[in-house]
Subunit: 423 residues, 2 copies
């Protein structure tokens, strides 16, 4: 494996060279390498756990909170789950080589549009060591070399996981340099990485607005932001009240710390007095703090205790926790305008009994994933049947929504002739 | 039409608002608007020619060269050609609404992946007034609002063309703000434009390395570089000499000032002494200056007069004119490595009689368009059967090669349920 005593540019250059060898590798070689990686992770679990113990000790000394320490911790069972995820990725169809279009041109040229790897993909991620292996496996499956840049909090764990992944993969036939890791935690390394034009073909930053700002200001290589979600549930006047309660509750409460959970509930005036007391009761019981506009407060009835007045800022806030903003709207149009103005283009839902309202919402709301009568929480590569994901794109170019192995590819035109020249 | 006394942000906000109305417009409305635009351009040709006369006079006073003045000039015939191009774009299939994928998920959710417009596309372009109309027509057809930022040299012509396009389009049913224009020439306008996060969804810069550098350093909105091409023709040892001569000549000479013309000729050692004297003779006769490595000079025989020694810099230079670098290589591998190291990922060709060599080249060369036994000059939306193009992408994300109406779209996932929530 490439070691971290090399410069960022040197590491990226080795990944670039590896990418040229990786791109044409047959599916069998990539899959065998992934199986070998899964086996090696299980066989060398003790080494991983020992490295992880060092990170955990540093984390406790730095007073990391319990949730962060839990995300950082590895044991036999979690390592087995990581290995299983690698085997699941091996079992996916190979996206490389897929024929996307084929036609004969007017002059007899035979044009094919063929799916190919992107080249070198860099991923910048939070203190979750499993991402080290997930990202490497998704990259290998899609024929890309990967440059890993994790958090300094998981430095030892990531180094052990990357070393095992790289060495097992290379022993099974991957080119040297297919998986490289930066030490992480060094800001200058990050800045170097995102300016490796010609070597890094794509950076995927996973993380909050702070990381996004650094990349916006400094990245010169292409970026797909796997970024925050300010998601809405809009309950139309024609909605089934019980269905709306269930969906609003699920979208907020089932896992509030993730990007596809809902932050704002919009309720049509016609249904507000029926729906809002019920939903507020549910959400209060789950410990959700509610930030409401005057009309929502007026509709709350017995459930008005403990409500907070919403400010303009609330409509633009991703709480990532047990807080929800609530607003009453006069029309479907007002709901759509609110979503398009305040949403982050991630996941948006309407609950409605009126198919025309559903169609207007899905046509006019500008987001990666638009839902009718179901929860925003389904935006996920696994749920969508795409296998594992590298993140969730909230930008429009290249890929929107879950980034699976197909989204980690591009295409090339391959044109065969018999001596044709342009007149 | 939006006027230029407004700030860049105000103009972009109006385009954004228009984009929400444009996205769901049926094909018939967009096509009728395009026909109305074509008619208006012809009906108001005199106004356009008068505005153009002002630009031409300024250009002559500023001693612009004849080629630039010719690109800038408009007359009845050229205006008719612009109108015809708009009608051709109207006749293309509507890309919006195309169903890309459809499946039922394990829980009964019905998932559709649907092609949708990107939103607001800004284009920054050189002093070619026809681009004003082409870009607007491609944007309208694909359901996008467009922000035009042309060259100050074509300021009056562009303003007239954009005003006619916007007013005819709006009279035929497009939302106000669908076509807006910045005055052009003001550097601060450009910097403002490329930082309109949330308003501009995509900037396409057409132009040279200088413009690219400005965007790399300053753009915070997504960019597709429609950039330079350092393209190669590689003649394999097994090539037909006559075919290789014809392709090398066409790739360099047929239109040397464009991005898909070849800059470097690579020749396998086995064929060098047969091919090089012939090709050099052809190229000398066309007035091409040749920059050669020692082996190419040695192989030139009678055609060695007037050759220049190539420097390392030549392998990385896009001449955009009648100059060509020539290098002899020992193997197909060396040719592929040279192309991947020095090429810009635009268009690359091999001439070969060996199908295995062709396959190795197309598999391993990392470029948008890879050709076997034909000229690099075919990289073009029209030639590829895609209709008109907004430029040629040399990046890997989103779209590679010609940017037609489909490449000006993205997709969204539309998911219908019956109350499903995530467990």
């Amino acid at each position: 494996m490439a070691t971290t005593t090399q410069s960022v540019a040197e590491l990226c250059r080795r990944a670039k060279e590896a990418s040229h060898e990786l791109a044409p590798l047959p599916a069998e070689v990539k899959n065998a390498a992934l199986e070998a990686i899964a086996d090696a992770l299980e066989a060398r679990a003790a080494e991983i756990i020992e490295a992880n113990a060092g990170d955990l000790e540093d984390g406790r000394n730095a007073d990391l909170d319990a949730a962060l320490l839990d995300r950082l911790a590895l044991d036999e069972e979690r390592i087995a789950a990581i290995a299983t995820a690698v085997r699941d990725i091996a079992a996916l169809p190979d996206p490389v080589g897929e024929l996307l279009e084929e036609r004969e041109l007017y002059n007899g040229l035979e044009l094919k549009k063929v799916r190919v790897p992107i080249g070198v993909i860099a991923i910048v991620y939070e203190a979750r060591p499993n991402v080290t292996v997930d990202a490497a496996a998704l990259a290998i499956k899609s024929g890309n070399a990967v440059v890993l840049r994790g958090s300094s909090m998981a430095q030892r764990s990531n180094a052990a996981l990357a070393e095992i992944t790289a060495s097992a993969g290379e022993a099974a036939g991957l080119p040297e340099g297919s998986v490289v890791i930066l030490p992480g935690g060094d800001r200058s390394d990050l800045l170097d990485l995102i300016q490796q034009d010609g070597l890094v073909d794509l950076v995927i930053p996973r993380g909050g607005e702070g990381l996004k700002k650094i990349l916006k200001a400094n990245a010169t290589v292409p970026v797909i932001y796997a970024a925050a979600g300010n998601c809405h549930v809009y309950v139309d006047g024609s909605a089934d009240v019980e269905m709306a309660r269930r969906i609003a509750y699920n979208a907020k409460v089932q896992r509030p710390g993730v990007c596809n959970s809902a932050e704002t509930l919009l309720v049509h005036r016609d249904i507000a007095s029926k729906l809002i007391p019920e939903v507020f009761g549910d959400l209060h019981a789950a410990g959700v703090e509610l930030l409401v506009d005057p009309a929502a407060r007026a509709a709350a009835g017995d459930a008005a205790d403990g409500l907070t007045d919403a400010t303009d800022e609330d409509w633009d806030t991703e709480y990532l926790g047990l807080k929800m903003a609530v607003k009453v709207v006069d029309s479907l149009d007002e709901a759509i305008d609110h979503v398009n103005h305040h949403g982050s283009g991630h996941s948006e839902a309407i609950v409605t009994g009126d198919p025309d309202a559903g169609e207007a919402f899905t046509n006019r709301v500008d987001a990666a994933c638009v839902y009718v009568n179901t929860s925003t929480r389904f935006t996920d590569g696994g749920e969508f049947g795409m296998g594992a994901e590298m993140g969730n794109s909230t930008q429009k170019l290249h890929a929107r929504g879950p980034l699976g192995v197909r989204e980690l590819t591009t295409f090339k035109y391959v044109v065969h002739g018999s001596g044709q020249v342009r007149e």
